[in-house]
């Protein structure tokens, strides 16, 4: 078993106590883990695998099937560029390319300073505002390629 610190162990135990009430669904378990840690640490999978006697392979099978789960830590600000139909037809691919150029990372990566992660998503259902970029919880509507830098610069920590 991988080492876990007492703090982490406490958090894992809290998640575990909710899980019993959750009818044994490992998707909601993984969602809870990600809610606490921001991603799914390998240690947490190891811990729950032993605790629940569920093979790790099942956890990884589910984690890699659903796009919502992150196996690596994310940046402080998660940048989601919508590539849904409405946004795409209004040029969101160019916006994504500009962000890639600006942050110097590819989709799925995190900047070296841990500030931004970049994700391309398929439709967030805010098509009336297309094209949109979502950073953290902020929705930036009707983004233009020339404004990309200005938007990113607003996030300074």
């Amino acid at each position: 078993m991988l080492e876990v610190s007492p703090e982490v162990e406490k958090k894992l135990n809290e998640i575990f106590s909710n899980y019993i009430e959750n009818e044994g669904n490992i998707i909601s378990l993984l969602q809870d883990i990600q809610g606490v840690f921001g991603y799914i640490p390998e240690k947490a999978v190891d811990w729950f695998s032993k605790k629940l006697d569920i093979p790790e392979s099942r956890f990884f099978g589910v984690m890699t099937f659903y796009s919502q789960f992150y196996l690596k830590p994310r940046g402080r600000h998660n940048v989601q560029v919508c590539l849904g139909t409405a946004c795409y037809t209004k040029g969101s691919e160019n916006i994504l390319n500009n962000i890639v150029n600006d942050l110097k990372i590819e989709v799925g990566e995190t900047t070296e300073d841990g500030k931004f992660s970049l994700e391309a998503v398929r439709c967030l259902g805010a098509c009336g505002l297309a094209p949109i970029v979502v950073i953290g919880h902020d929705i930036h509507p009707a983004v233009k390629t020339k404004n990309v830098k200005k938007i990113l610069d607003k996030y300074d920590d």
Partner: protein, 598 residues
């Protein structure tokens, strides 16, 4: 009793308007109203999505239903003073008709609203979705009460079956028939599931219903549960819709408090518990067998049918799965009867349908129209025509499973049969309008990229076939298309449709096949002339600066991310093609149309 007020200000708090700052508008409105001592007379209500998403933030002032759009925080003090103190509605914040720019004050006169018939969206913009009393005040839970206390399960099924309601998730199967089959299966446990995994890109009908009127979905589920004899239900919502999840959670909690969920609902002896399940980002989970596996906590991979879920569904028990919009249709059918429902729509597709109208139209938003309404009415009257003076090229319906309908077919009626005849589908209701700046080959590639990435990989035709289709399309958009590619696309596409396991693969080639049918010349231009007529495909276009228009303002130099543009101030600028990454930023920023794309 609720207090009587002179006027209600309904502020749209749907995702779109919130993103445009509607909560800030509310805050300032509250302050201004209070400042003028009007807070006893005027009540501010946050509503769900109003549907006119492109014009946010939106408010509607009742009882006159004066509609204000695109408000900014600094507009509010003036608005309050003029409208609420002096009684003069403010024209400059109203909707203007696109041609003559005349202000239209009342919602009912604005073409976007005028041609809509609201049944599913009956409460949109009228109630606070987080307040069960407001739903009840608009006949909410009357249908559930009628179904639970006055009707047998057979009577419920009979009305729903006679109404002719067909599943609004895309397949269009008779809802009443589905319920009837499940009700006849003998089992101690049955489930009813609401499919809120609205994955089609460009579609947000279900999101709006769940956000604006969550109780209508819950009420539909209670009635369905009684019809089939289920005592447990699940609402499966995609994780990308946090606001919908929050509103549903609140609504369910209110129902338990009000005795509308749980044991002995409304004293009828009927027991029903409802749970929410969050998806985790997988398009294929919108397919019913995959969705159920996902609720069970597994990888959501579809299985072959039969057995159908009505016989063996969630945890192997008989299960009815319906779409959000289908459930929201149920309460008025129970209250008003089957004939009322059939009074709108076509013979085979009765009722109304909600569409998410997006893309190149002026009025982007959510529209509900009777089935059988013409595409022209939806795009030109409700949608206000094509934006920015461009021309209509095609409309894509039904998302990644659907197809593109060209200009010459704009007068067809929108219903299940008519759209199927021209190679598209109603689907869940996405409607993306395309203009001449959209490349049809690129659009087909876009959808294939999506379905290919979302294919679960279980069956070979879908997993490998979509990959190969995508490779060919990619080749064509890069100017490397070959003779015979188009025939290969058609053959392969038809094989994938015939051999795939679930709806994802069976429909994935549709965008390719329908664009090949109506826009073959565009494919040929890519392959034979190495040109992208719409100027989209990067490998087939080049940017240059037109000498006669360039003013040397430097805007393009500043915006170019790769430093490919050079030139002194007030002198002709130049693009070094070798350094150009073809992002189009210069084209967008130039005010003098001096950047040429060909």
């Amino acid at each position: 009793m609720k207090k009587q007020v002179r006027s209600n200000i309904m502020i749209c708090a749907g995702t779109g308007c919130v993103a445009c700052g509607s909560l800030k508008i509310r805050e300032i409105l509250q302050g201004e109203i209070k400042k003028h001592g009007l807070d006893k007379e005027i009540e501010i209500v946050l509503t769900g999505c109003n549907g006119f998403c492109a014009k946010g933030p939106i408010i509607a002032v009742h009882p006159d239903k004066i509609f204000y759009e695109a408000l900014k925080p600094e507009d509010i003090p003036y608005l309050v003073e003029e409208h609420f103190i002096k009684g003069r509605p403010v024209q400059k914040f109203m909707y203007k008709e696109p041609e003559k720019k005349l202000a239209i004050p009342a919602m009912k006169d604005i073409p976007f609203f005028k041609y809509q018939v609201l049944r599913v969206l009956r409460n949109k913009g009228l109630i606070d979705p987080e307040n069960i009393e407001e739903y009840i005040a608009r006949d909410g839970y009357m249908a559930a009460a009628k179904a639970l206390t006055e009707m047998t399960h057979k009577e419920i099924i009979k009305v729903v079956k006679e109404s002719g309601l067909r599943g609004r998730g895309g397949a269009g199967f008779s809802t009443g028939l589905k319920w009837e089959i499940c009700s006849k299966v003998d089992s101690d446990v049955k489930y009813i599931v609401c499919n809120g995994d609205e994955g089609d890109p460009g579609a947000f009908m279900d999101r709006s219903v769940m956000e604006a009127d969550p109780h209508s979905v819950i009420e539909g589920m209670i009635i369905g549960a009684k019809a089939i004899g289920a005592h447990k239900g699940y609402i499966y919502v995609r994780a990308e819709y946090p606001l919908a999840v929050e509103r549903l959670r609140k609504a369910i909690a209110q129902c338990y408090d009000a005795g509308l969920l749980g044991k002995n609902i409304l004293g009828s002896g009927f027991k029903f518990d409802l749970y929410i399940y969050l998806g985790a980002g997988a398009f294929v989970c919108g397919e019913e067998t995959a969705l159920m596996l996902s609720i069970e906590g597994e990888r959501g991979m579809p299985r072959s049918k039969p057995p159908f879920p009505v016989h063996s569904g969630l945890w192997g028990k008989p299960t009815v799965l319906n779409n959000v919009e289908t459930f929201a249709n149920i309460p008025p059918i129970i209250l008003n009867g089957a004939d009322w429902f059939k009074s709108l729509g076509t013979g085979k597709s009765p009722g109304t349908k909600v569409f998410a109208l997006t893309g190149a139209v002026n009025n982007v938003g959510l529209v509900e129209v009777p089935m059988g309404t013409s595409l022209r009415r939806i795009i030109y009257d409700i949608g206000g025509g094509i934006a920015k003076g461009k021309t209509f090229k095609a409309v894509q319906t039904g998302g990644p499973s659907g197809g593109c309908i060209p200009t010459e077919l704009i007068d067809i009626n929108v219903d299940y049969e008519s759209l199927a005849q021209v190679g598209s589908i109603v689907g869940s209701g996405g409607m993306v309008v395309l203009d001449e700046t959209n490349c049809m080959v690129n659009i087909a590639k876009f959808f294939l990229e999506f379905t290919q990435a979302e294919s679960c990989g279980k069956c070979v035709p879908c997993r490998v076939g979509t990959k190969r289709l995508l490779e060919i399309l990619d080749r064509i958009t890069r100017g490397k298309g070959k003779d015979g590619d188009l025939e290969l696309l058609e053959n392969l596409g038809n094989d994938i449709k015939a051999a795939s396991l679930c709806g994802l693969g069976q429909t994935a080639p549709n965008p390719v096949l329908s664009t090949l049918k109506y826009f073959r010349h565009e494919y040929e231009a890519h392959i034979k002339d190495l040109k992208c007529p719409a100027g989209v495909c990067k490998d087939l276009i080049e940017y240059s600066i037109l000498e006669e228009f360039c003013k040397g303002c430097g805007a393009c130099i500043r915006v170019c991310p790769s430093g490919a543009i050079t030139g002194e101030k007030k002198k002709l600028h130049k693009i070094t093609t070798a350094m150009c990454i073809k992002c189009g930023a210069c084209f967008d920023v130039c005010k003098f149309n001096a950047v040429k794309k060909e």
